[in-house]
C-alpha cells in the first residue's frame, strides 16, 4: 500500500513536470527574444528605412509590408470564410455533398504552408500573371487562413440557439431574413474574434510569401498591390541566414522579431480575451 502511494506520487510529479515544461519553454523563448530585442526598439527603428545593407537603420518598410499584407489577406478571406460558414451551418443539408465540403475544409487546414506557396506561385504568380506581388501573397495567405476563418465562424453560428431561428421562421421570415436579422447579429462578434487568430497566423507566416512576392530589399515603399514588398518574417529569415555579415545584422533581427511577436501576440491576446468575454455574455 505504501509503495503504491509512492508510485502515484512519482507519477503525479512527472505529470506536473510536463506542465512545467510548457511554462519553461515559453518563458525561455520570450526571455531571450525580449532581452535581445528590447534595446533596439526605438521610434527611429520603427519609422526609418534600413541602411548600410540592413546593418543599421530601421524596419519601417517591413512593418508597413506586413500590415498591408494582413489587411489585404483579411479583405479576401473574411467574406469568403463567413459566407462559407453560413452556408455550411444554416443551409447545407446533411448528406454526401455536405460531407465532401467539410472534408475539403478539413484537408485544407492540413495542407503544409509551403504547398500553399507552390499553389501561389503556380496559380497567382504565373497562371493569372499577378507576378511576384503583394496581391499574389495576399491571395495565397487568404486561402491558407480560410479554414481557420470558416471554423471559427461555424462555431459562432452554432452557438446561436435554435429557437431564435424557429421563432423568426414561425413569424413568416424567409430563411435569409432569419439568418440576416436573427442569427448573424449574435454570431458576428464570435466570427470576428476567431478571425483575429487567422490574421495573426497570416502575419507570421513565412514560407508561402518567400515564393509569392516578398523581397529581400526595396529602397521605397511599394506603391501598388502588384509590387513586391518587404515583410517582417521574410526579412527575419533572410537576415538571420543569408546576410553577408550575420553578426552585424543580429540586433536588427532581434528588433524585428520583437516587433513581429508584439503584433502577433497582441492580436492573440485580444482574440482570447474577446472570445472569453462573448462566451460569457451570450449564455442562453
Amino acid at each position: 500500500m505504501k509503495w503504491k502511494k509512492i508510485k502515484e506520487h512519482i507519477i503525479y510529479s512527472l505529470l506536473r513536470l510536463s506542465g512545467l515544461f510548457i511554462v519553461c519553454a515559453l518563458a525561455i523563448l520570450l526571455l531571450y527574444i525580449i532581452s535581445g530585442g528590447i534595446g533596439k526598439i526605438s521610434w527611429e527603428f520603427l519609422t526609418s528605412f534600413p541602411t548600410n545593407g540592413m546593418m543599421s537603420g530601421g524596419i519601417f518598410p517591413m512593418i508597413i509590408g506586413t500590415l498591408s499584407l494582413m489587411v489585404l489577406t483579411m479583405v479576401i478571406a473574411l467574406p469568403i470564410g463567413i459566407f462559407s460558414a453560413i452556408y455550411l451551418v444554416e443551409y447545407a443539408k446533411p448528406g454526401r455533398f455536405t460531407d465532401a465540403i467539410r472534408l475539403a475544409v478539413h484537408n485544407l487546414a492540413g495542407v503544409p504552408s509551403i504547398v500553399y506557396g507552390l499553389l501561389g506561385l503556380g496559380f497567382f504568380v504565373v497562371f493569372l500573371g499577378f507576378g511576384l506581388s503583394l496581391i499574389s501573397a495576399a491571395f495565397t495567405l487568404a486561402i491558407m487562413v480560410l479554414p481557420i476563418v470558416i471554423a471559427s465562424a461555424q462555431e459562432a453560428l452554432r452557438a446561436v440557439p435554435q429557437n431564435m431561428r424557429e421563432g423568426a421562421l414561425a413569424l413568416g421570415s424567409t430563411k435569409w431574413e432569419t439568418t440576416r436579422h436573427h442569427v448573424l447579429p449574435y454570431a458576428l462578434p464570435g466570427m470576428l474574434t476567431g478571425s483575429i487568430l487567422a490574421l495573426s497566423r497570416a502575419a507570421g507566416e513565412t514560407a508561402p510569401i518567400i515564393m509569392t512576392g516578398a523581397a529581400f530589399y526595396i529602397t521605397h515603399l511599394s506603391s501598388s498591390i502588384f509590387d513586391e514588398f518587404m515583410a517582417l518574417p521574410y526579412s527575419i529569415y533572410t537576415l538571420a541566414t543569408q546576410s553577408s555579415n550575420v553578426e552585424a545584422t543580429r540586433p536588427t533581427v532581434f528588433g524585428a522579431i520583437l516587433v513581429l511577436l508584439l503584433i502577433v501576440l497582441c492580436m492573440n491576446l485580444v482574440a482570447i480575451i474577446a472570445r472569453n468575454y462573448y462566451r460569457k455574455k451570450y449564455r442562453w
Binding site: L26, L29, V111, I210
Partner: protein
Amino acid sequence: MKLKIFNLPKYDYKRIRHIKDKTIKKVLLAFGLTAVVFIILILAFLLIEGLPFFFKGDGIDFFTGDIWDPSSPNVPRYGILPMVLGTFLVTLGAIAIAVPVGIGCSIYLAEIAHPKIRETLKPLIEILAGIPSVVYGFFALVILSAWIDDFFHSTTRLNALTGSIMLAVMMLPIIISLSEDAIRSVPREMKEASLALGLSKWDTIRGVVLPAALSGITAAVILGVARAIGETMTVLMATGNAPVISFDMLTSMRTMTATIAIEMGEVPFGSIHYHALFAVGIVLFAITFVINFIAGRVMKRFREKY
C-alpha cells in the same frame, strides 16, 4: 410603408421575397464550394507543374536515387530519398519528445491541475501556438543550437536534433489542446463508477479514462505529426540542410519542405529543377493528405463513441 406593401398584389410580394431567398441560397452555395475549389486548385497546380518532371527527368531515380544534386554541371541528380529520410528522422525525434510531454501535460490539465492553474496554463499554451515559426527557427538557429553543441558536442553546429526539439515545442500546443478535449469528454459516470468501486484516482485515470480517450488522443498525436512534417521555417533554419543520407541525429539534415523553400527562389522558371521541386511538393502533399485523412477518421470514430 405598411400601406405600400399592402398595395402590392399579394402574390407578387411573396414571389419577390421567394426569389430573393432562392438567389441568396445559390450565392451562399457558391461560397460554400470555395474550399472544394481551392483543394482542387492545389492538386491541379501541383500536378501541372510537377508531372512534367517525370516526362523530362528521371522518374525512377527520383524515388530510388540517394543523391540530390540538381546544380551539378555534369549529371544533375534528383533523388528524393535523403529528404524523405530527413523529414522522417526529424519528425520522429520531435514525436519522441512531444508525445510523452504532451500527453502528460494534457492528463495534468484535465484531471489533476487546480482549476486556477488550468485557467492560467491554457492561455499560455495558446500563446505558444501563436508564435510564428520563423521565431522558433531563429531561436533554434542562434540559441538552441549553441546549447546542443555544448551538451552533445554535435558533428555539425546545426543538426537534426535541434530541429526535432524545436518542432516538439511547436507540436505540443496541438497535442495538448486536442487530447485534453478528448480526456475531458470521457463521461463523468465512467469515472465515478470506477472511483465508487474503490479504485484510486490514478488507477481510474490509467484504467478507465485513458483507454476511453485513446482514439481521441491518437488523433491529436497524428495531427501534431502532420503539422511537424509540413513545417518549413523552423527546420529550414535549424537543421543545417545538408541533403545527405545519415542516421546520426547530430548531423545536418534536410527536409522536403526546406528543399522547396531554399531552391525555389533560385531556379529558372520551367526548368527540370523547377518541376522537380513541384514533384517534391506532390509527395509532401500526398503524405500530409493521407495522415490528415487518417486523423479525421480516428477523430470521427471517437466523437461517435461519446
